[in-house]
């Protein structure tokens, strides 16, 4: 596929996007498993043991990327929702719908791994700290977006109402991100920053960034697979979905 001369707007129609997504899923899934495999290997076997926290710190290679993805996916979902409201594009709403469960999963994963890290390090599964609380609210917001969508029977209204709610909830994302800077709380400050460089060993940073890329690829693959299901569900198995090389269409119903 040549980069020049491609009419990208063509892919804003579900009909054109469906096969494209089908072609992208295997590549993203393969990239996700390779990068996550390498990242986990470096994180668990190559990176040095932390002199204060021992081996328990290694869960950050899942925790930090998951927390990043939980916020990032919320913003991406809100952007798709906003595009859908502004341009009245069906595919944008479908993408927003497809991203929400993955974002909620990463939010839950971040909270879960955080609790598993907190027990040996802080001595408590959970503390009512600003960052933990705001991340929990993010989980509630993902749940709200999904519940609002499923409660409204009219598809068009469900799309648009959950889009408005997703956009309203965006105010929480900067609150989570800056909570450790604004409030002096138990959760440590950012160890990785764009401006000041990172405060950790290079191998640790490599593992963390690899895991982030891996999670990113995973999110793309899963979202595309889910958006195909959403399309099939909404379009009631149109003829063109059967021309796809992916065999999972029939099972998606």
């Amino acid at each position: 596929m040549s980069v020049t001369g491609v009419n990208w707007l063509k892919y804003s129609s579900p009909q054109a996007f469906y096969p494209l997504a089908g072609r992208m899923i295997p590549w993203c899934a393969a990239a996700a498993s390779v990068v996550m495999g390498v990242g986990l290997y470096i994180g668990f076997f190559v990176a040095p043991t932390d002199f204060q926290q021992g081996e328990a710190y290694r869960i950050i290679f899942v925790h930090v990327p998951a927390a990043w993805m939980s916020m990032f996916l919320y913003v991406v979902m809100a952007v798709w929702a906003g595009l859908g409201l502004g341009l009245n594009a069906r595919l944008s709403f479908m993408m927003a719908q497809a991203i929400a469960p993955t974002g909620a999963m990463f939010t839950f994963l971040a909270l879960l791994t955080g609790a598993m890290w907190g027990k040996p390090t802080w001595g408590a599964w959970w503390v009512w700290d600003a960052r933990l609380t705001s991340e929990l609210i993010l989980l509630f917001q993902y749940a709200g977006v999904m519940l609002l969508r499923t409660s409204i029977d009219d598809l068009r209204r469900a799309d648009r109402a959950s889009a408005v709610f997703a956009l309203v909830g965006v105010v929480n994302v900067p609150i989570i991100y800056f909570s450790v800077r604004w409030w002096n709380t138990l959760h440590q400050g950012a160890s990785v920053s764009m401006t000041a460089g990172s405060k950790m060993a290079a191998t640790m940073l490599t593992a963390m960034l690899l895991m982030t890329v891996g999670f990113w690829m995973y999110s793309i693959a899963v979202t595309l697979a889910r958006v195909r299901c959403v399309m099939v569900e909404r379009e009631q198995l149109p003829a063109w979905s059967k021309q796809s090389p992916m065999p999972d269409v029939a099972e998606a119903r």
């Binding site: 609210i137 309203v168 609150i175």
Partner: protein
Amino acid sequence: MNQPSMFEALRGIIQRDLLLAMRRRSDVAMSVFFLVIVASLFPLGVGPEPTVLRTIAPGVLWVAALLACLLSLGRVFTADYLDGVLEQMLLVSQPLAVLVVGKVFAHWVISGLPVVLLSPLLGLQFGLSGESLGVLVLSLLLGTPTLSMIGGIGAALVLGVRGSGLLVALLVLPLYVPVLIFGAGAVTSSSAGIGGEANLSLLGACLVLSLFFAPWATAAALRIALE
């Protein structure tokens, strides 16, 4: 025919909603009684230890105020939605967001203001000191309009949806959390002797932000609900 100005339209909406509420006073009384009962349950459940009550008072009173606001959210738009008045409001030449401000303000006068006025009495039940009582009233005065503004968005989103009473709670309560933290925090820090100014300023900031953004979101949600 003369077009009413934006201010006249706003005043008209507020007058109408307040008049309607006055014709059904039991609705107003219900959320007030709810607040009193919820706040009275805690000393019965936790035990009458004065130091414990004084510690939990800000949180309990704020949560009770929040729930009282939540329970009355269904009344903001539902009646107008059912009898078609809301559709007429969409057709008026005045911006919908202005009419929304009027309706939400009326909701605050009906459900928020009684809470503010009643709060010193409930605070006394929990043994709060004079200064803390003042901060409690001030924090509720700044915070409850924000609750009404945010609640308006939720109420508009779930208009006419099945199970809307529960759904609006799930949507709105997470968004209420910052107001709850700052509001209860102001009273707590005032009781602790460090003054509640910082938290009160943050409450004021929340109010300004919600006054600016919430009417647009609510108007958008109403348009979606009525198309």
